[in-house]
């Protein structure tokens, strides 16, 4: 991956130097060996701090929203899954495609930080990463570690649909094989839950939603959540608890409703980048919730994963007379 990192820094530096963009949104090495954090390079010097490791899990497309109404040209680095977020924002007219330079990185999968830290000392300094196809080789100042992808990747990466970005202006680094396991059912988790008894399902979600802190991290990280003011924040005079749809209290019933409403706001638009589930501090399996709709929509309406195609129209905003229906 060394080659890709170098090319990334070079390209970023070039874009900044020629003033084609004001800022390159990428990642840099974080506070420990298995962490990369978003980084906003605004000068040639800063461009040298950009990095590309199997820990660059953050979906950076969301950061474009911060600049949606100014005119600054930007560059953003995306993995395959993140690139669907670019299409999402462009479709939602939140960003003019011409104003962003998309730097695409073919991705061999992201490592599960927890699994890596079980083996590697967090304090170690990451020197080089090598993608050997079926495994990653991490070289640190405290030794070399190999990680079988099948064992150590994030589960979402084993179900990877696009490891090559679906949209990019510049592809950086060599093509790498998809980390997706062969013959993997993308919706196995959903299907598993579907087969359970309704009562079991009910308790399952009740338990998870009851733990929700209403921290809104899932919303804040989501590229499909791009309203100007979230409907959960809209205060209406006379509704003491806040928004008119539901209260802001942390209460099981209200949390339930919160997740369902959010669910419907992203239905047919969720790009399945998995960030919501990753950032959830109480580990609610949000991805399994959103992917339920994705699965049904794929089965019923042959919907592709949203964000795959820049021309598509969100499923719930289209109507075809030949759509199947169950009611009459």
């Amino acid at each position: 991956m060394k080659q890709a990192v170098e090319e990334l820094r070079r390209q970023a530096a070039g874009l900044l130097k020629e003033e084609r963009v004001k800022c390159v949104i990428g990642w840099t090495q974080g506070t420990d060996v298995a962490r990369a954090v978003p980084f906003f390079a605004t000068s040639v010097r800063q461009a040298a701090r950009l990095t590309w490791t199997p820990f660059c899990v953050n979906n950076l497309s969301k950061y474009l929203l911060n600049h949606r109404y100014d005119n600054t040209p930007l560059a953003v680095v995306v993995k395959g899954c993140d690139s669907r977020g670019i299409n999402r924002l462009v479709q939602d007219r939140q960003f003019v495609r011409e104003r962003v330079v998309v730097l695409g990185l073919p991705c061999g999968g992201m490592l599960d930080r927890e699994k890596v830290l079980r083996v590697v000392d967090p304090g170690a300094a990451l020197q080089e990463v090598e993608d050997r196809g079926s495994e990653y080789m991490l070289r640190t100042d405290k030794g070399e570690y190999g990680f079988e992808k099948r064992e150590a990747l994030l589960s979402k990466c084993l179900e990877c649909e696009h490891n090559i970005p679906v949209v990019s202006d510049l592809m950086i680094g060599p093509q790498v094989p998809s980390p997706a396991g062969s013959g993997i059912d993308r919706f196995a988790g959903v299907r598993e839950l579907e087969t359970r008894d309704p009562a079991v399902r009910s308790t399952f979600w009740d338990r998870h939603f009851a733990r929700c802190l209403r921290c809104y991290a899932c919303r804040n990280v989501c590229p499909a959540c791009n309203c100007k003011e979230c409907s959960f924040e809209q205060a209406v005079p006379g509704w003491q608890q806040g928004a008119c749809w539901l209260s802001k209290r942390n209460h099981p019933g209200q949390n339930y409703l919160f997740h369902l409403i959010r669910m419907f706001h992203v239905a047919g638009r969720c790009i399945d980048c998995g960030e919501c589930a990753r950032v959830c501090p109480v580990n609610i399996p949000l991805r399994e919730l959103y992917r339920k709709v994705m699965k049904d929509a794929e089965e019923l309406f042959a919907m592709k994963t949203p964000g795959t195609d820049p021309e598509e129209v969100p499923l719930l905003s289209t109507y075809r007379t030949d759509d199947p229906e169950e009611f009459s």
């Binding site: 959903v190 839950l193 579907e194 309704p198 009562a199 399902r201 009910s202 308790t203 399952f204 979600w205 009740d206 003491q240 608890q241 539901l246 209260s247 209290r249 209460h251 019933g253 209200q254 339930y256 409703l257 369902l260 669910m263 419907f264 239905a267 919730l289 339920k292 709709v293 049904d296 929509a297 019923l300 719930l316 199947p324 229906e325 169950e326 009611f327 009459s328």
Partner: protein, 54 residues
């Protein structure tokens, strides 16, 4: 269809949610549908989920 599947997925009883096309001229059908639906929901009892005590 998505909604009913989802609601069942998150643990609501099947039959609590239903969608029908009824035109404004079909008064009888509205009444009939509502009656059926009411009967069904009454059997299921009150929905304990999403309850708000504000």
């Amino acid at each position: 269809m998505l909604v009913s599947r989802l609601l069942e997925y998150v643990g609501l009883e099947p039959g609590r949610f239903e969608m029908r096309w009824i035109s404004a001229s079909e008064g009888g059908k509205v009444a009939e549908t509502v009656r059926e639906m009411t009967e069904r929901i009454r059997k299921l009892g009150p929905n304990r989920k999403m309850r708000d005590e504000r």
